[in-house]
């Protein structure tokens, strides 16, 4: 099989992969998209479970008792802003403007941290108001869904900070746009999941609990 190895036609070699691929596309990027497609299944399951048990709790607190829409709206704006700073980091990386790339990456990590801190605070407030993961079906499905999302954001922050660290240690390739783009894809995915969660969990009203 060794003599069947493919050599790319001139001018169409992948810009970032060390090896030519049979698709002509970087394997890393293809793998990232496949991973994100599989993540749709994971979050689809969690969101569906929340919707399935919406309004099915026998005891409170119910969503209307604990949700603070203005507070969560600000969190949503923060995460949305982090997606913007992420693409600005990519634009800077493509221009090989390393200092600006680091600045935008740090801004993205900081906005992500703000979002996670806001989520932790929200969880503690909800807990103080009597909503734990085992209080009712709302608590279970809500904490599992938003908790999984929060863990994903946290991993994203670690990846962003790693990129900044590698860049500071001069361990990123000259063209840092590719690793920045890969982390960016993950980060934007986390953002689009929140777009759905914000609408489905927070904004769409929950049916009133059935009278006992």
């Amino acid at each position: 099989m060794a003599d069947l190895a493919i050599t790319p036609p001139s001018g169409t070699a992948p810009a970032h992969d060390e090896h030519a691929t049979s698709t002509g596309l970087p394997n890393t990027k293809l793998a990232m998209w496949v991973f994100l497609a599989s993540e749709c299944m994971l979050f689809g399951a969690l969101i569906s479970t929340y919707v399935l048990y919406r309004g099915a709790s026998d005891v409170g607190p119910y969503p209307d008792d604990v949700f603070d829409i203005p507070y969560t709206s600000v969190s949503s704006f923060v995460l949305l802003a982090s997606s913007l700073t992420m693409v600005l980091a990519l634009a800077a990386a493509q221009k090989r403007d390393v200092s600006r790339m680091r600045l935008w990456l740090l801004s993205t990590a900081l906005l992500g941290l703000t979002f996670v801190a806001g989520q932790v605070y929200e969880f503690t407030v909800f807990y103080d108001e009597g909503l734990s993961i085992s209080t009712n079906l709302f608590g279970t499905t809500f904490y599992v869904l938003t908790g999984f999302h929060g863990v994903h954001v946290t991993f994203g922050i670690l990846m962003l900070l790693s990129l900044v660290g590698f860049s500071a240690a001069d361990r990123l390739p000259d063209d840092a746009a590719f690793p920045v783009e890969m982390v960016g894809l993950y980060w934007h995915f986390v953002d689009i999941v929140w777009i759905i969660i914000f609408t489905v969990v927070y904004l769409i009203p929950t049916p009133a609990p059935a009278p006992v």
């Binding site: 002509g24 913007l84 960016g184």
Partner: protein, 119 residues
């Protein structure tokens, strides 16, 4: 195309198919920072509209409006920030396959459990 590539394609039965590296190579450059900021502003406005919709009594239009707004936001991020609009169609195919598969599967589950039945 080299002889070894031709042999490889014959073995795979893809001899007459277009060369994927040529057919699927990225067509466009990524947007500029200015365009990204424009999309960011549009996303912020759409989010503000979503939140406003929550407070304004729009009756039965609330849920459809919120869903449409979130789909627009989702599409803007995927197409522009994740560059699916500019990159190879192969990435889009993989992602849409996962997304559509998940949406279909879970919609069937929710319909089976009567979630959308109005009593």
């Amino acid at each position: 195309m080299s002889e070894t590539e031709t042999r490889f394609q014959e073995e795979l039965g893809t001899r007459d198919m277009p060369d994927p590296r040529e057919a699927q190579a990225p067509h466009h450059e990524h947007p500029s920072a200015k365009e990204y900021i424009r999309i960011g502003v549009i996303l912020a406005v759409l989010t503000a509209l979503e939140v406003a919709t929550y407070y304004v009594d729009v009756g039965g239009a609330l849920v459809p409006t919120l869903i449409v707004l979130s789909i627009i936001k989702f599409a803007l991020v995927v197409m522009w920030f994740m560059h699916l609009r500019f990159d190879s169609l192969t990435y889009a195919r993989f992602f849409v396959m996962g997304l559509a598969g998940a949406a279909t599967l879970y919609l069937i589950v929710l319909i089976s459990f009567g979630v959308f039945v109005v009593e």
